[in-house]
Symmetry: D2
Subunit: 436 residues, 4 copies
């Protein structure tokens, strides 16, 4: 597309070297267009910017000869606007459909189509053969999107929700105006979980009432709440032929979750929702929705009313290109080691404090019981500039995801993807200072 004439300005051999270097530089960009896969090695920021620049220069608002006479023509007032939208001032989507190409925005449309293809290649590398879209909204809103699509396609009108104490999914259900049937958790040692039989019973009850239930299961959550047994739930949903949406907010970062997803996908899973920021280290604002059911993914994209900011999608694309699969797998490995370290340190600490290193099941987070007010301890940690830990009282039904009294007061800490070793060490040592 681009062809410029440098002839005669410098000696021929230098001309050739210049073109060679430029072509080498541009090759990685061309590869993204040609291969449409997550690159093995990450691409540097300068190149990614150039790549995005080429795309945004295809939108009609960049056409110096265009005559713009609509009511919405991506006129922007400030240069900052262009920067914040990576030049995609027309956003993404068409009034009808999130993934529909927008005639005024060829570049943004290509960018979005490419993002989804690259995202799918990323999932494939992780062992998930799925269809996927990057959404311009966070996890909670993306769950709303899936539920609304389930209602549209299958007439679902009630959501069976194995209780997890997270406001976003609960509000996601309320937002789309569906009723929710909670299934209570039970205690198993230190662990809190929802028996699959109870879920099946809830489904039966709703069906008996003449309703059309769907299930919103939770794969990733703070311990002591276990992951839901999504494989068994998927089997049940298959049996009863009802939709199954999985909240897997940070599921992509650990094999524990990925393995469960792989198995569940053999039965009934309509869509999984993950967060782009919690897994791909983007700023907050984007979601990932994926499924083996291409039709349902299409339905989801059809549910979005209107166009949306391109930025959250661009952030997802930037992450995929910037990391490359190699660095992502490295991050995944580091997360595993960080979790191991966190476990060791908290275990040691529990011996010193006389607390208990709780016997919970999570590949990300760990819990230690404490003998004084855990909420105050968390507040002290915040004042020591430790962000992230939660302190939960045994009587806090919401915090524990358990409607009875839990076995211990405790603190929960995360070794999520991207955490630095020094943060693991410092957080435990600051906790030690408070406890001892």
């Amino acid at each position: 597309m681009l062809d410029f004439n440098i002839e005669g300005l410098i000696p021929k051999n230098m001309e050739k070297r210049g073109e060679l270097v430029l072509n080498e530089y541009l090759k990685e960009i061309e590869d993204v267009f040609n291969h449409r896969k997550i690159p093995e090695n990450g691409i540097d920021d300068e190149k990614i910017k150039l790549f995005l620049k080429f795309l945004s220069m295809m939108d009609t608002d960049k056409d110096p000869k265009s005559v713009r006479i609509g009511e919405r023509e991506a006129r922007t007032y400030s240069k900052i606007h262009e920067e914040l939208s990576s030049g995609f001032c027309h956003g993404i989507g068409r009034s009808g459909n999130l993934v529909d190409p927008q005639p005024k925005a060829s570049g943004a449309s290509i960018m979005y189509a490419l993002t989804n293809k690259i995202l799918e290649s990323f999932f494939k590398q992780l062992g998930l053969n799925v269809h996927a879209i990057a959404t311009p909204i966070s996890t909670g809103m993306s769950i709303s999107l899936c539920l609304s699509a389930a209602r549209k396609k299958y007439g679902s009108n009630v959501v069976i929700y194995p209780y997890a104490s997270h406001k976003s999914p609960i509000k996601a259900v309320s937002f789309v105006g569906m009723n929710m049937r909670l299934v209570e958790t039970v205690l198993d040692g230190d662990r809190v979980y929802v028996p699959v039989e109870d879920i099946e019973n809830a489904i039966k009850k709703e069906i008996e009432l003449g309703n059309r239930p769907c299930v919103l299961s939770t794969l990733t959550f703070f311990p002591p709440r276990n992951s839901d047994d999504i494989v068994e739930i998927a089997k049940i949903c298959e049996n009863y032929d009802i939709p199954h949406i999985i909240n897997g907010a940070y599921a992509i970062q650990n094999n524990y979750y990925l393995e469960k997803l792989k198995k569940a996908f053999k039965y009934r899973v309509d869509a999984v929702v993950s967060s782009s920021d919690k897994n791909l280290l983007t700023p907050i604002g984007g979601g990932l929705v994926y499924s083996t059911d291409a039709e349902f993914i299409k339905e989801i994209s059809l549910s979005y009313p209107g166009r949306a900011s391109a930025t959250p999608v661009v952030n997802t694309l930037v992450s995929l290109l910037s990391m490359g699969s190699k660095n992502y797998l490295e991050l995944v490995k580091n997360q595993k080691n960080s979790k191991k370290l966190l476990d060791e340190l908290l275990n040691d600490l529990s011996k010193k404090t006389g607390g208990k290193f709780l016997d919970v099941e999570s590949p990300i987070a760990s819990c230690i019981s404490v003998n004084s007010d855990p909420v105050e301890i968390a507040a002290k940690l915040y004042n020591l500039r430790v962000t992230g830990p939660r302190g939960i009282k045994k009587t806090d039904h919401f915090g524990n995801c358990y409607l009875g009294t839990y076995t211990h007061d405790y603190i929960v800490m995360n070794a999520a993807i991207g955490v630095r070793t020094e943060d693991i060490v410092n957080s435990v040592s600051k906790l030690e200072k408070i406890l001892l």
Copy 2:
């Protein structure tokens, strides 16, 4: 907060001059913090960036001494991410509430609070004494938010929709799972409108059926569809005590709409939704929701499930600061003149082509009837790089917002805020080339 020592490096009088210039430079930024109003004169991009920088530097992910041990700590992989989010990597909102301060993100929380205050001062300048929030989602999704809040607060379960052929609001209703009762349009000369009696009758019918209706009226739309008579609708809604949401996508740019809004606000208006890109010339992705009812605005912000990208809100803030009230009023004036010019040119053209300059009522767009296929004409215009015009056949129920056969085939063109005079002239002259 900042105090740096330049003593002894240059002569005292130059030191003082340097400080004077720096203070003068920073004063506009301090004024934004102190006055919390839209500035009269626009602020230049460099200063706005510095202002945003100060704010984003208050978020905990910028703290070099912080220990980050949560599952979501605004870790970002690429510098591009920071640029695209203006440094607000934590986004806005808390899982509970869009406008709730987020403890990990003091800066973003202040930014959002300031944006809303400045937005309110902007509305005040336009003569609307309202409470307002900038939403991180477009018009369609913002309407969903309002409807969902109406259901939560008032139990509304059916939306009375005076028919306007716009997919986004229709999907917004479907998205939140509410039923819709269309009220048909009728013809009055060239104009298409919905009689208020029919709306009242629809309300009555729904109430008789035991439902709890709310009204979604349309203030801004393509002619020949008139604006709904929102003042009379507001009176009716007050009488029947039912919520009234107004879709005023591009209502802020013209006094014709603002006057209607001022009057309607005396009766029942729960919320008006406008677009940030259509009025404030931001990239696509943000909305503006405003109302005299502070409680309901709060309810709306409570409906959003989870956190959201800060970028659409930052874009709105950037527009307000970058324009200042003076430039905005100038743009408003220019829009009025552009519309006048468009009318004249289309009127002239109609005389040459034997078409009719349709007698419609819109302060933004104008229609001219054509003697050949209007859809083909629009396609030809697109190929001539004119974006925005719509070509509608008389038999196109959706395009005309009219379920019968309309009086003419026609083309509609917009002289919206920000349009350039040359674009008005060129679009009509290109249309002339096609028609003659």
Copy 3:
């Protein structure tokens, strides 16, 4: 060079539109490479940046496959370094010659060659058919370069300098180790000038002494010092066959100077030195050297010891592309009007104050006599934040360029290219406040 594959991602017609817009966007860049002339219309910043990016991507330090084993490989420590050098980290020049292509830096070499070609086309538009180079050093240092080349090529060892009280050229002579013979100024009414006969006599004397003189004349200076009569000096230099360098620091902005240059070039002018910042509105740091004598321009470029920062040259290139010839001519026109306004205002002021509007000859600056200490008046103006005016006492030999006592105490003010009308008005009104 660039060819990327977007096939199959969006509908064919949108693909084509995207490519059309992209190509349109890139066309202006391709035109610069093809035409190698100053564009008529200015090019916007985004495009200029992309253009510079393509060039800097040809330098070997951008080659991901390069193996760098020299002692100087344009390794930079910070991203800021790349920004400040526009990616041209290898600088320009080779140890031998400023304009020699550098094998490690094809891109910077092309950039420099293009800059000089575009600069020459710019001079051509102004009516000067000259060879030209943009230098990476300011006016003073560029004069040193010319003098050193004159010594090398013609054996010049003494500089005849019609006295102008400017430190930079005097230091430029001293820097290259040449002796200077001042030729004194005389008074003609309010004007200070150097008679050409005296210059001729000085030349004769030096030749008699066995020296090889060259002349450094001054075209642009603060009044009451007149421009040297460069046409007559050029004739004399031709007669005596001695080099003639013209200091035309801000000569390009006004036809008064350009006309003199055109005439002088018919006789002996070896090189003219102008400032890039004073004429082309770049930051300080670059020079322009031009002459009808291609050989001598080559000699000048050969005199520079070593490589240099690319930035001042890039700034010159950016100005030429950013302005385009049309805007430059507009600025030239505005300067003329600004000078007229300044004259009127100062004339009026002189009537009010009983001072005299001095009868001097300058197309840029004007003088008004004052009745109190002019140095104090200038200091007061500085405190009122007026930068630029000079206050000169009649006894200040240096300030007046006159070794006797001048006729008046006075203030001199400039209406140089780029000055704003409001600055003209405000400066005179602030002066009035001080004087009355």
Copy 4:
């Protein structure tokens, strides 16, 4: 200086946290102003940019209330200009003196004063108690500056130059119009050096001729040319009371050179010139001049005719802040290891090829003799994208710095500061492919 009001927008404890984080962020910037030393740990780019922003905002061209009526007011045409000059559009220096504060540019003046202070602290850390200035010109031009100052202060008129085959210093001498007396090199095994007795004799001869010589010695050069024995030369210069300038282009990166400098400074050294790009990894364009003689450094800064681009100085400042002393020492350590590796690999290679690993003395570069045309070998390496190695024939007087025939044809390679281990390995392996 900055004080903004965030009161009442978010809860008090979050306000405090926000201010705490902001203050922590700004502290590193305040520390630079307060301590005026190279920081121990490098400062990140974002902070350095903010620091530079604060400074550039003190220049008068940023004053919205300024009235600009001079002929040079840092008016710039494009935003790119501001970026390339880091906002210091007024450049540095005054017509009289490079380090003089410029009344229109308090910020740039502070920036330059700070740079020099930080540079001195950097030298102090390396064990050199010197006065120093960062120059806005490269090594060659900086040598010119020193020589011109030596002429001005001491009347020096001829430069004694122990022969090193480098065009830049030779042109630097010619540029300022001084004569040069070369002192020939002799052979000592594989090494080429200049006997100090010969230098002393050259001095004597010039003094006998009635001249006032100064010495330009070479500390850093490609082997087989040894470093000059600067300690003995410094003693001789002290005895004869003549100026001594040292070309130490890349002297700061290795203790071998630093130790020599420390000793030489006990005797007569008027100035040392080093390159900012070769030592501090900036883009090409800046120099470092340092000496124990504060007076002479002042004289040097006085020699520069006019103002200069701020960019090369800013680049030096950015390097010092960005690296911090810790990273610099790390780079120094790595350079040493890289050199060791290069020696080993070339030694091994020589055994395979039957060449000789030459017995030369350099802490940076190594030589290996070859049996075929070394110039062709170097060209082949360039084609294999190896930049930096030099191939020198035994008969090349210039390349060898030796006027007779050298002992071998050879290739020389550098392990300079910043070189990557992989580049060392790849360059030798590519050389092996060519040789075997």
